[in-house]
Symmetry: C2
Subunit: 149 residues, 2 copies
Amino acid sequence: MRLSTKGEYASRAMLELALRFAAGPQHIRDISAAQDIPERFLEQILLQLKRAGYLRSRKGPQGGYFLSRPPEGISVADVIRVMDGPLAPIDCVSVTAHEICPKEDGCVLKGLWKETRDAIASILERTTLADLVERSRSSRKKTSTRNRH
Amino acid sequence: MRLSTKGEYASRAMLELALRFAAGPQHIRDISAAQDIPERFLEQILLQLKRAGYLRSRKGPQGGYFLSRPPEGISVADVIRVMDGPLAPIDCVSVTAHEICPKEDGCVLKGLWKETRDAIASILERTTLADLVERSRSSRKKTSTRNRH
DNA sequence: AAGTTTGCCTATTGAGTAAGTCGACTATTA
DNA sequence: TAATAGTCGACTTACTCAATAGGCAAACTT
C-alpha cells in the first residue's frame, strides 16, 4: 500500500505552490530547494501535473509554475492520481480503472478492497491544497513565529 | 496505493484455508486450483506465511498447509504485512517501520498520510479471516445453493 | 538582435522489485 | 522403498522507479 516517491514529491510541490499561490509563478529550482526534491526529477513531475491541467507555466525570466486554479479546487487525490494512477488497492475495485473481475461469484475480498479504497479516497478527496495550507499556517503559528522569505 | 499480486494471492489463499479450516491440511495444488494462483508461486507465499507463524504444515501424503490458529485470530492486515510490509503509504508514518522524518517542522502532509494509514489499518486489522468466511457463506446462500467440494 | 533565463520534451540508465520458474532436497506415509 | 508433498535457494525475465542528461523553444533583458 505504498505511495511512490513521485506521488510524495508531487504532493509536496503542490503544497509549496499553494503556499505561494498569491506570489505568482515559482521556479522549478526554488520549489526543488524548498522541498528538497531533485531538480530534474521535479521538472518531469510538474510537467505531468501541467499536462493533467492542474498547473500552468510561463517561460523565460520571471517564469515558473503556478496552480491553474485556487488551492480549494485541487485535492490531494487529484495529484496522486496523476502520478500514481488509481487509488484503489487492486483494479477490480477502482473507479477510474475499473476492470471486470473474472471471479465474479462471492469474491468477498473484493468487498474488503472496495471498503479500503473508499476509506482512502474519502480522505484524500476531501483534503484540498487549501486545507493543507491552512493547517500549515496554524501549526507554524503554534511552534514558532519565524517568517522566512 | 497498490496491493501487490503477492498480497492479493496471499489473502485469497488464507481465505481458502479458513474456509476449509475444519477439514485439516490442504495441498498447495488444491489451493492453487481453487483460487487460480500459479502453483510454484503460491508455494513461496505459503512458506513465507508459515515462517511468519500464521500457517503450519505437514509433509508427505495427507500433508498440506493449515492455519496455525483459528480464523478469528488472523486479520487481513497480518497477512498483507507479511507479504508487502507496512500498511503505511510512506515510512515516516508507519507503525512497524517507523523512520525519522528529516523535515520535522510543519510537515502537514505527514498528518494526512497518518490519517490515511490509520483508515487503512483500522479496516484491515478489524477484518479477520473468520469475518471473511462468514461473509462468504452468507453471500453464497443468497446467490445460489451449489455446494462444490 | 544577441544572449540569458526558464520551461519543454525525449531518451537513457542503473537499481531494484515483481512475478514467476526450476531443480534438487527432505520428511512422511502407504 | 516408492510415491507424495512440502522446503529451500537460485535463477530469470520483464517491468517500474528514480533519476540524469541533452538539446529545443519560448520569453524576457539589454
